[in-house]
Symmetry: C2
Subunit: 462 residues, 2 copies
């Protein structure tokens, strides 16, 4: 366990009610993230009182924490003379986050009382899509002209550093404000005082992203090049803002949650499980569940076509769940492999046929393994008298084994191709959820099973 | 798209074969991560030639890249006079990574020729579990005594900074080498030259982790406090090493891959999809698939008990796939929600009953919705003559509807409780894969369905 405990919920409130001084003393040893977490457990009115009682600098850090939930509710209730200075002191990316959460009416009201530069910047940043580099970026970065020396930069950082999101990446621009190179503070600290910034570092072209690049791509780039921040530039290489590594981690964690939930077959839920309203949660789940149910109804239709066969050979019905679930399982394996490979860029759209060429023998092998197990299962039960599959038990076992090979092969192919089809059609491949694949494979699985049965058992059972 | 293209595979090799000078010129504008990615696409022998031809400093950065695959194969083939200096110049955490990958024989051989300090440190670091803070940490950090001034630290960083993993977090220790506080380089640069380090910063207790803390917990702590690095300390607060944010991102991405694959019902695969050997991939998939298949065999046993009912009312068989898959889908939704909530600490083990209390009405509501749709389906088909469910179609529809409520309720409860059970038993809750839950729910779903059928249809169809 990490050594910093989270304050027990309510501690703040208790201290605040008891004695203002005790309260401030208690806060002194807490980090902003701890206070934010503590606030999450308090009712809004109590949170508002805590925020108003905190020293201003600490309050700014607390509202700047992305893990602070219901920030919008807090700001809706804070008096303007507390709220406005806090908002103006927040970092630009968190301002944007807050204004996106606020109700329309509060947004208009608060925007109106902000000073003009903050307001204009906010409007600009909010014009970018929420999950893009532009929507994640902040505008407080260190930018210096290419005529400066290392000493100039050090003095600048010492003077202006406190207002910047990060001072560890320093952006050098030319006379037309175009990004020329990116230095690390380490390089600047290690350089001789009189060295020109254009002579520091390795002089390689900086890694940048455009404002419309998706957050997953931003995360991938930051992580690939081990950056602490990445500049977001326009067409002519002006730096619009920077995305820092901590925002990327937050984005990765949200993306992960979204992927797991999508893969579990439901709409993504941003709120935490115990906080989300009951009706909202049911709605998020009912949509997908009903859609899958409607798809799965095709199995009833398919089964209807085989009612005659089932009534003649009830023994066939016994293996239906076993066979269709094997198809679903192999499909879910294949789809999870390919979703991840696509997300990590290990596989691109153009590789679909390479994947198909691998899944074909993989599906046959896996189906063969299950087929043999299935064959042994039927014959063993028959031999030891644990169940009587009738006089044609050998043919029944053969039907089960052949159907398993066909169904698992189909499951592997369908499961691996579906993410490609989804991405090609412009959807997130992660929507190829396990339940979706299973539904797709169930209907086909039944048709494969009964077709195999018809061929093998014709003239005997059927 | 980010502005840095990856070099086309083979470019290196082509240039290297053509002209050594062209090759080095081409490498000059590439970042180490790009070169590492380029190497991933080359056969090992060619990669070895490229590594040996690169300028030493650049080669060190390349082998220090965690995205370099098959690093072990490269080092197995590199001549010792190239390999040894490279290893000694790598950062400690990447040395550990490399030695964990190497074959036993190569590991012993290379360990033997390393200098004693490197060897001893490596042995110590390798004694920590791979996915723990100790297994991720590096030992190149900036540590200064509490008697120094800001200027002392700045000079120290300027002198020694290049050999450190990060210089942005500075660890201040007392006379007994115990960690006293952590400063950021920003604070040090902004402080007056003569200020003592003990008077810089806010003086709050540093955030630390123990060496055995799991990497997910390390990632959570770094991300919560927006740190660039976290110190790993022993019982008496000596700093053993630090884990940096880029390692945490790598860990998060691996964890994400592992979770998606586990959730898809297979053993985690570290290699990229197109690189892993065919047999190895099939083995990873066959294990889980066979286990699920053996579990699913219980459905055949359960169905066997109802063979008599099926032969009397074949119409019941038609809805088997529809009903059991609905249970699987609702279970998979619930389990994905709870896995994520547990991973994010939104829900703890002690909250299991809160979850159960939410899933009970949620399962009933969702089951009710599907039940109504199912009822309408059967009656509509009957009414319009699209299918004939016999004279007791109303009772059949009722059976389907009631079974759906029961199965979805059971699926939601089982799916939400399984992650708790797994964590309680010491397993990763993410092992509660969609296929695992579906298998669990299938058997019970059949029993619920036929029991409901027996009650509703007794005296008519049965």
């Amino acid at each position: 366990m990490p050594s910093r405990p989270t304050p027990p919920p309510g501690e703040f409130l208790y201290l605040l009610a008891a004695d203002q001084e005790d309260f401030l003393a208690a806060c002194e040893d807490l980090l902003p993230a701890d206070i934010a977490e503590g606030l999450n457990d308090l009712p809004t009115e109590a949170g508002v009182r805590v925020l108003a009682a905190l020293p201003f600098d600490l309050a700014v850090q607390v509202v700047d924490e992305s893990l602070l939930e219901k920030r919008d509710h807090l700001f809706e209730q804070l008096p303007d003379h507390v709220a406005i200075p806090l908002i103006q002191a927040m970092s630009a990316d968190q301002q944007v986050g807050l204004f996106r959460e606020l109700r329309e009416s509060d947004r208009a009201r608060l925007l109106h009382v902000l000073d003009a530069p903050t307001r204009n910047q906010l409007k600009l940043l909010m014009s970018y899509p929420r999950q893009s580099a532009g929507g994640l970026m902040t505008t407080e970065f260190v930018s210096v002209p290419d005529t400066w020396t290392a000493l100039d930069v050090r003095l600048h950082v010492a003077r202006e550093g406190s207002g910047k999101e990060t001072v560890y990446a320093i952006y050098v621009h030319d006379q037309e404000q175009r990004l020329e190179r990116v230095l690390s503070l380490r390089e600047v600290v290690m350089a001789d005082s009189q060295t020109l910034v254009t002579r520091i570092g390795d002089g390689r072209k900086p890694v940048t992203v455009g404002p419309t690049v998706d957050r997953e791509e931003v995360a991938r780039t930051i992580s690939k090049y081990n950056l602490l921040a990445i500049p977001v530039v326009d067409d002519v290489n002006h730096v619009l803002g920077i995305v820092t590594v901590d925002d990327v981690i937050d984005a990765l964690v949200s993306e992960q949650t979204e992927d797991v939930q999508k893969f579990g077959g439901m709409a993504a839920i941003e709120e935490s499980y115990l906080d989300i309203g009951f009706l909202r949660m049911v709605r998020k789940r009912a949509g997908w569940l009903s859609a899958l149910f409607l798809g799965e109804m095709l199995t009833a239709t398919a089964m209807g076509h085989f009612e005659h066969e089932i009534s003649r050979a009830v023994v066939l019905a016994l293996f239906i769940p076993l066979i269709i679930s094997s198809g679903g399982n192999s499909g879910s394996q294949a789809t999870s492999l390919i979703i991840r490979a696509l997300a990590l860029n290990e596989v691109t759209l153009a590789d679909w046929w390479r994947v198909a060429v691998r899944e074909l023998p993989a599906g046959l092998t896996l189906g063969g393994i299950l087929g043999v197990i299935g064959l042994i299962r039927v014959e063993t039960w028959q031999r030891f008298g644990w169940y009587d599959y009738g006089p044609h038990h050998g043919l029944v076992a053969l039907t089960v084994a052949l159907a398993l090979i066909g169904v698992v092969l189909f499951g592997s192919l369908a499961g691996s191709m579906l993410p490609f089809v989804l991405r090609r059609a412009g959807f997130d491949p992660a929507s190829a959820s396990a339940p979706f694949v299973a539904t797709l494979v169930d209907v086909t699985g039944l048709i494969i099973y009964f077709t195999v049965g018809y061929i093998v058992l014709r003239g005997t059972l059927l």
